[in-house]
C-alpha cells in the first residue's frame, strides 16, 4: 500500500502534468538546473512535513478555521527552509528570490493537505507528501534540463557544448535564446503533457 502511495504521484498521477497544481513556481525557477533542484528539494521537504504535521493534528483542528491553521504550519516550515537556504546556499537563494516564499501558496501543498492528509494517518501522509514533492521535482528538473542545455549549452553550470563550436569562435553552433525566455517553460510543459497523454490514453480530454 505504501508502495502504491509512493509510485503513483511520480508519473501516473503527477501533480503538475495531471492534476495541474503548483504551476506558478514550477515554471519560473527552471532557467538553470541548480535552482530547479534546490526548489524541488525545498518543496519536497515542506510537503512531507506539512502533510505529516497536519495529519497528526487532523482530529483536533476545527473544520471552520482549518485553512488558517494549514497556512500557519506551511508558512512556519517555509520560513525554516528560507533561513537555511540563506545561511548555506546564499547564491541560489538570491536566484530563487520570492519563489521560496511562494511555496506557501503553492497549490500542491494545500491540495495534498486537503485531499490526503486530512483523511489519513501521519505515516502515509508523510510518504504521500514526499512522493508528490518528487513528482513535482521530476517535471521541474526535466524542464530545467532542456532549458539549460539548449539555452545556455551547459548543465549545472558546467559548459557542455565545446567553446570552439560557437559561431563567434568560427564554429557552427548558436545557443537557442528562446529557451532562456519564460514562455518556453510553458511550451515545454505543454509538450510533456502531450507526450504523457499520448502514452496514457485515459487522460485525454474531450
Amino acid at each position: 500500500m505504501y508502495k502504491k502511495i509512493f509510485i503513483e504521484p511520480l508519473f501516473k498521477n503527477n501533480p503538475v502534468s495531471v492534476l495541474v497544481l503548483g504551476i506558478c513556481s514550477a515554471l519560473a525557477v527552471t532557467v538553470k538546473l541548480e535552482p530547479a533542484l534546490v526548489m524541488a528539494l525545498s518543496v519536497t521537504i515542506v510537503m512531507g512535513f506539512s502533510n505529516a504535521i497536519i495529519s497528526s493534528l487532523r482530529n483536533t483542528i476545527p473544520n471552520r478555521i482549518r485553512i488558517i491553521v494549514q497556512l500557519v504550519v506551511v508558512a512556519m516550515l517555509v520560513i525554516l527552509v528560507d533561513q537555511v537556504l540563506k545561511a548555506f546556499a546564499y547564491e541560489v537563494s538570491k536566484q530563487l528570490s520570492v519563489f521560496v516564499g511562494l511555496i506557501i501558496t503553492n497549490c500542491i501543498i494545500m491540495g495534498r493537505i486537503e485531499a490526503f492528509a486530512l483523511a489519513n494517518k501521519p505515516l502515509p501522509s508523510l510518504i504521500d507528501g514526499i512522493a508528490n514533492g518528487l513528482g513535482y521535482g521530476i517535471i521541474l528538473v526535466a524542464v530545467a534540463f532542456f532549458r539549460e542545455l539548449f539555452g545556455s549549452g551547459s548543465l549545472m553550470g558546467y559548459q557542455l557544448i565545446p567553446a570552439s563550436w560557437y559561431l563567434k569562435n568560427g564554429g557552427f553552433y548558436e545557443n537557442n535564446g528562446l529557451f532562456i525566455l519564460p514562455p518556453m517553460a510553458l511550451i515545454l510543459v505543454g509538450v510533456f503533457i502531450w507526450v504523457q497523454r499520448s502514452i496514457q490514453k485515459e487522460l485525454i480530454e474531450k
Binding site: 495541474v20 497544481l21 503548483g22 504551476i23 506558478c24 513556481s25 514550477a26 515554471l27 519560473a28 485553512i67 488558517i68 497556512l71 500557519v72 508558512a75 512556519m76 517555509v78 520560513i79 528560507d82 533561513q83 528570490s97 520570492v98 516564499g101 511562494l102 506557501i104 501558496t105 503553492n106 497549490c107 494545500m110 525566455l181 519564460p182 514562455p183 518556453m184 517553460a185 510553458l186 511550451i187 510543459v189 505543454g190 509538450v191 503533457i193 502531450w194 507526450v195 497523454r197 499520448s198 490514453k201 485525454i204 480530454e205 474531450k206
Partner: protein, 205 residues
Amino acid sequence: MQELVNIFVKSIFIDNMVFAYFLGMCSYLAVSKNVKTAVGLGLAVIFVLGVTLPANYLLFKYVLSDGALAWLNPEYANIDLSFLSFIIFIAVIASMVQLVEMVVEKFSPGLYSSLGIFLPLIAVNCAILGGSLFMQERAYETLAQATVFGLGSGLGWFLAIVALAAIREKLSYSNVPAPLRGLGITFIVVGLMGIAFMSFMGIKL
C-alpha cells in the same frame, strides 16, 4: 507623479504577473474557460491586490523591516523582524480576503453572488502573495508607489485572464490533436501569448 505612472505601466505590461513571473497560474488556468467568470475573478484580484499591498507595505515599513520599531522606542532600533514577513503577509491576506468577503456580502449582494466562490480562492492565489513579496524585494519607497504597483499588477492579471478566456472560447471550435486537447494546448497558447508580451520588454520608462 511621473514615477507613479511609470510603475503603473511597467507592472501592467513589462512585469506582467502572468507572463513574466507565472504568478497565479493555478487559478489562471482553471478559471479561464469562459470570459464571464474570468472577468469576475480578474476584478476580484485587482481589488484584493489594491487593498493588501498598502496594508502589507505599512506593516513592513513600521513593524517588520530592520530597525522599523524605532518609532515605538529608540531601544528597539536594532530589532529585525523581517524573517517573519511570510507569515504576517499571508495572515494579512487571508484576513483581508475574509473581510472583503463580508463587506461585499453586506453592501452589494449582487456583486457577491457573481464573485461567489472566487473570493475565498484568492487567499491562496500566488499573485497576491507574490505582489507583497515583490513589493518587499524591490523596496518601493512610498505608500502611493506600493498601491499603484498593486493596482497595476492586478490590472495586468485581469487583462491576461480575459485574453486567455477569449482565446479558449474560440479554441473549443478548432481541431486539436487528441492528446493535446484541453490542458496541453492551453499551456502552449499561454506560452505564445507570453512571447507576444515579451515585445514590451525593451521599453525603458
